[in-house]
Symmetry: C2
Subunit: 217 residues, 2 copies
């Protein structure tokens, strides 16, 4: 081809090889078994080793999320990008459904009326749902802040919050608010996160179930 060297890897082996490289570069760092696959998948998705340090898990968060999915919890996310990235097929095989209300007309109306973001309004819609919920926020800190208020008002009680909005305005504080509640959480402390990370953490849970990677007893 030319002087640029390509490694020969079978298409089906690329992900496996990537995880080997990530493990090598993490060296002798030790993670809790249930957290390790989430952390490595976030690094795989971003090529950013900061996720080895910034991911925070409340007690048994991964197991609680997995049990939620196994008993049919729905996932609500704050971006259509995250929705596009989450493995719907695996989620639906356990009875759950995937939702993003951001493009809904009633959300646009509600946000305009209240002078809030559509992401905040979409959390209010989530609070009207009867199903068990996993809330995955990858973009809007305003969604996490509204979610915090709804929790305090006892209007919503998610099984798990995946709190990984990205950015510069109230992102750090919104994550701290969520970590101050009693609700199980997986949060990327600091400014980093994103729709890709939100989708990736949901998929890490789904794939642990699919691939039976964790002793759930």
């Amino acid at each position: 081809m030319n002087h640029i060297h390509l490694e020969e890897v079978d298409p089906l082996e690329i992900e496996k090889r990537s995880f080997e490289i990530i493990s090598e570069e993490l060296g002798d760092r030790i993670f809790k078994e249930e957290q390790e696959l989430v952390i490595k998948r976030c690094i795989h998705t971003s090529a950013d080793f900061d996720y080895a340090d910034n991911l925070c898990f409340s007690k048994d968060a991964v197991k609680i999320g997995i049990h939620g999915i196994l008993s049919g919890a729905h996932i609500v996310t704050d971006t259509n990008m995250a929705k596009a990235g989450i493995n719907k097929k695996v989620l639906e095989s356990f009875g759950g459904q995937l939702h993003c209300f951001m493009a809904d007309e009633d959300i646009a109306r509600s946000a305009k009326k209240q002078g809030c973001t559509r992401a905040a309004a979409s959390m209010e819609k989530a609070a009207t749902m009867k199903e068990d919920l996993i809330i995955a926020v990858g973009n809007a800190p305003t969604a996490l802040v509204r979610l915090y208020e709804l929790i305090k008002e006892e209007r919503i009680k998610p099984k798990l919050i995946i709190g990984v909005p990205v950015g510069f305005v109230n992102v750090v504080a919104s994550k701290e608010l969520i970590m101050s509640t009693e609700i199980p959480y997986i949060v990327a402390k600091g400014r980093k996160g994103g729709s890709n990370i939100a989708a990736c953490i949901c998929n890490a849970l789904l794939y642990m179930i699919r691939d039976q990677k964790l002793d759930l007893s």
Copy 2:
């Protein structure tokens, strides 16, 4: 609420305030005007200042991309996540369309037959299109490698390549291959990138047009 401090920012002002913070933290670094908005939007999307250093632009790449969109170029991307994140409405207002072939049945068949990835097969499908193309690769280095081969075989000649796959196997090399061609490119050198970054660079171009941020003469 509690001791955690939230900054009071009007929902409509959050993006503006974010860009102000990014500009402050970049300090006195100077970028080319046309590249600056792309770089800052990538930092805005990822909270990762590495993009101030790793984004590489061939000569006039941003202007070429913008002129492509203005004259109706289509965008082909390698993930449905990127497709979900790109502002279709603005693109379509200039006559372009947005494509991702990854979930198409003919792509699955072609990949299986050839023993290649679906991303590589989807580049072959792009090569059969008659329209002007911007190719935005956010995930699969195999897509960039196949794209390089198709360029060398003179089977495709995109107006612009946005080459920002993420990961550990052949990602760095695949980007170097693209930068060795004559095709205009915007590439995130190194391992970083992602569907979010691919979408973000497309949107940066689209919003520069919508907001008339650049002198295009």
